[in-house]
Subunit: 206 residues, 2 copies
DNA sequence: TGTACATCAGTGAACGCGCGTTCACTGATGTAC
DNA sequence: TGTACATCAGTGAACGCGCGTTCACTGATGTAC
């Protein structure tokens, strides 16, 4: 029987490993700090400062686990914006979801993307690759005859850049609907033109 | 007589205020850490831990001064890539300069852009506005009949996103020439199409 | 030119703090017979 | 069903550390006369 959803007071705790990640995320979102103190997390989870070491090798391991949760939730948000976008309009709706996710969970997003970050964490490397593949899929569906590499990079960068510029206050971000409109407009400004000429006259395309 | 360039050993120090900023930047670039410890900076500058407080109100003030230097240097780099870009090709060369700056001075770039950052620092707010204006100028020159707002945001976001994706290892960044090519390709992938139809058939354009 | 004084850049010791991590431990749960 | 034991989640005290900041101070420089 899986214990995925019953942290009861029974047993010692049930699933403290997951509870620690949850506590960490709550702390991040309350404090607005990107720094995550293991002691603070333990305190929040109602547990002694030594306890986390039973579940995570060190601070960095907990941070990676937090980031992994973030990647999963981001993927869900994108998928629920549109399961399989294949037009510039659908792509724009996914872009909006990406940026709003960043704004609603700013510290989580920063931990996922805004840190030198442990190149050794397989979890994180895999999650990153998954996002890249997802974007690439959209681009291939939406612009079948484009230069996939260049265009995938460009699209991801565009959306990612919009997220960070809003997050860092370089673009005003107090009202989500304004942000959504701005993101949509930016994406359309670039993509409408791209779509307008279906075959960009490049040689050697199928 | 201005003392802008003579930190001699004469007098007490000459220009410790600037020396502290310099020490801070050196430390950042050596350690790869975004965290800046006032004590470490003082140590590096060969001065007691209390001394910085004679020049900066607190740690945050020093960090803002560091960011200000970063903005100035970024502006110089962009200007020297092209003083007044007005074609997609010229724009791409500026984009490359932006991304390479981020990669060459990663921690400085993160401090400039990748932190919640003090909304109250006039210096920083002004610097940000200057970058935005600069981008807007390029866009107006390059695409005279476009929707300036949307396109300016899109271009800045595209370039900024490319910088961060490389910086955070989401795009491979070990060889500058590869990065330069990738940035150029990404920019061209989006912009060539935009330029290809000079008047995008929107109503009400001069 | 020489003396008396004000200024102020820089000192160094001290404060209290929260941190990451280790350690020997306790006590509830599960297991074997 | 009852007892003896192994397991292991969680404890709590302690370690050494570097931090930001404050304080009363020193001593070199510049200034007035």
């Amino acid at each position: 029987m899986s214990t995925s959803k019953a942290p009861k007071a029974a047993y010692h705790h049930g699933d403290l490993r997951a509870a620690l990640v949850r506590a960490a995320i709550e702390l991040l979102e309350e404090s607005g700090e990107t720094e995550l103190s293991l002691r603070a997390v333990a305190r929040r989870a109602g547990v002694s400062p030594a306890e986390p070491y039973r579940h995570y090798a060190d601070r960095e391991a907990l941070v990676s686990a937090v980031a992994a949760v973030g990647y999963r939730e981001l993927a869900e948000r994108l998928a629920s914006a549109h399961p399989s976008p294949s037009t510039p309009e659908e792509l724009a709706s996914v872009a909006v979801a990406y940026v709003l996710f960043a704004l609603q969970r700013p510290t989580l997003f920063r931990i996922m993307f805004g840190e030198p970050c442990d190149r050794d964490s397989d979890e994180r490397v895999a999650a990153t690759a998954a996002v890249a593949l997802y974007v690439r899929g959209i681009v291939e569906r939406t612009f079948p005859q484009a230069d996939d590499d260049a265009l995938s990079n460009a699209i991801w960068a565009l959306v990612h850049g919009l997220a960070f510029l809003h997050l860092d206050g370089k673009l005003e971000a107090s009202r989500p609907s304004v942000v959504a409109d701005r993101v949509t407009a930016a994406v359309q400004a670039l993509l409408t033109a791209t779509r307008a000429q279906p075959a960009p006259a490049a040689p050697g395309q199928a």
